[in-house]
């Protein structure tokens, strides 16, 4: 290799070159096939309907109007909205607390906590749900052991009133460590002189958290919130796998994604299924965008 010193070239030519496409081109080509094309095809499908008489015909926005008056869709939507309102704050607060604790340098063996709490992220959702599903079960799970020990039915994770909380527990277990790590990484980037200045001012630990650490976390909190909103609205794996263990409680339209899936695979209603997927995608993107906007506005204030 010939270059050993860094030469500063006169940057007089902001000429636009096509060779950047040599690098971006392959990604863009696959992106068109695997991302843009399905979206376009789904929009196309959503404008048609397969009728018994007359076959496939153009119906304009009729499918969309149907979604907005579809009780099953709105029931599933309300369920994930409730899930979002309860599970996401709990998970993010737990993650925040854990990140602050690990970052505080006051834990024995902080490294162990960081790695072990993150570990469930690497566990496939299928395995996480199977483990927790068995643990919840009354045949050989820990729930059964617990009920035997106390002598009456204390916990019923699969009861109609509890199943959403049971799913919330699985999702929290899977992702609390991931969010903790995002927060922890952001905390590690706070420059040491900020802490030194706070120390000179005589600020206590609590004051350091509220005045330095939490403001520094704002960007990370926005990112984690957006990913959690997406995750909640797109909930599928956990309820769909638990369905085998609690078949009468978890319906085929338990979440919007399960509804879209079952419309396609049990009902053969491809056009309507595509419409549901689009509506949910748009709602998710809009809410994520609003959170992003509000988050960054708060940052500049």
């Amino acid at each position: 290799m010939t270059m050993t010193s860094m030469r500063v070239t006169p940057s007089v030519r902001p000429r636009r070159q096509w060779r950047g496409w040599l690098f971006v081109g392959p990604f863009s080509a696959v992106f068109l096939v695997a991302f843009i094309a399905p979206v376009v095809y789904a929009i196309y499908l959503s404008l048609f309907r397969n009728r018994l008489v007359g076959g496939n015909s153009f119906v304009g926005l009729e499918n969309y109007l149907q979604v907005f008056t579809d009780a099953q869709f709105w029931e599933s939507f309300a369920r994930v909205a409730l899930f979002l309102a309860v599970q996401v704050p709990i998970m993010l607060l737990l993650a925040l607390g854990a990140a602050l604790a690990i970052d505080s340098a006051r834990l024995y063996g902080a490294g162990i906590f960081r790695i072990v709490i993150f570990l469930p992220y690497a566990v496939p959702a299928v395995v996480a749900v199977l483990m927790w599903g068995f643990i919840y079960g009354n045949s050989f799970g820990l729930a059964a052991n617990l009920n035997d020990a106390v002598g009456f039915t204390l916990v019923t994770p699969f009861a109609r009133d509890w199943v959403l909380a049971s799913i919330g527990n699985i999702v929290t277990w899977e992702f609390v460590g991931y969010n903790m790590l995002i927060f922890y990484s952001a905390l590690r980037t706070i420059p040491a002189d900020l802490y030194e200045a706070a120390e000179l001012d005589g600020a206590g630990a609590l004051r350091v958290i509220t005045a330095i650490k939490v403001p520094a976390l704002r960007g990370a909190i926005v990112i984690a919130t957006i990913f959690s909103i997406i995750g909640s609205f797109q909930l599928f794996n956990e309820p769909n796998i638990l369905k085998t263990l609690a078949p009468n409680i978890i319906t085929s339209y338990f979440t919007p994604n399960m509804y879209a899936y079952n419309l396609s695979f049990a009902g053969q209603q491809y056009n309507y299924s595509a419409t549901v997927a689009i509506v949910m995608g748009v709602i998710t993107a809009v809410i994520a965008y609003v959170v992003q906007l509000r988050g960054s506005r708060a940052e500049t204030r």
Partner: protein
Amino acid sequence: MTAPALVRRPVRKDRKSVALTIVMALFLIYTLVPLLWLLFSSTKTQAGLFSSFGLWFADDFSFFQNLVDTLTYRDGIFVRWLGNTLLYVVVGAGGATLLATLAGYGLAKFSFPGRRAVFAVVLGAIAVPGTALAVPTFLMFSQLHLTNTPWAIIIPSLISPFGLYLIWVYAVDAVPTELLEAARMDGAGEFRTFATISVRLLAPGIVTVLLFTVVATWNNYFLPLIMLSKPELYPLTVGLNQWNSQATGVAAEPIYNLVIMGSLLTIVPIVVAFLFLQRFWQSGLSAGSVKQ
């Protein structure tokens, strides 16, 4: 970008707290209980599962019998699923990392017509979750007769907008533009420069993206569930769930001990990979969270 690990901490705060450690230990136990349950349960026969406490051994120790049974059940279909998973991971995650690295580098280091448009579309794509795309992709692929082929899993796995974003953020600082200018002055081609110089500077970012795409494809469930109906093409995740659903229904044939052993075998490689490569994903995650 400041290297997060290098930030110094004031010495004063090194006083350890027992109370805080105990609270965090409860957190740790919560994290470990399901995994311990899985480990203990993998040593039990089906009868033992029903007759013993979940977080201890049963009277009969049949870990190795379960292992053999899992690997040989139905002519070793589990091994087949493991091979499928490896194929999807190597081609899918490997390809996704390659494409994301090239494109992230291109976006960071070149000015070309359409650059802003590509960037805007990719940022938007990060907010579109894979599951929302899965049903439309299935509908399109079934028209193209791609369902029930490995391509149905591999092609969608090749796209990682988040990976591209990570590499882009990383490349802006990790590869000095002056270095590239110097290489051009010396007459080196762009790909040669990329392959001999830039790749080395990007290595930590590339490993991070590789880890995350490997986890995403190894753990992928929704996409193969809808794309594949032939069991011989299943990855581990879909296969395991099929074994589990075998316990209910008309011709119920529960094989809980195999589901449990299969689950254990599914998580061991990915957990080991994460533990060994933790230095990389931790630095990569900070790169992603610093800038947004």
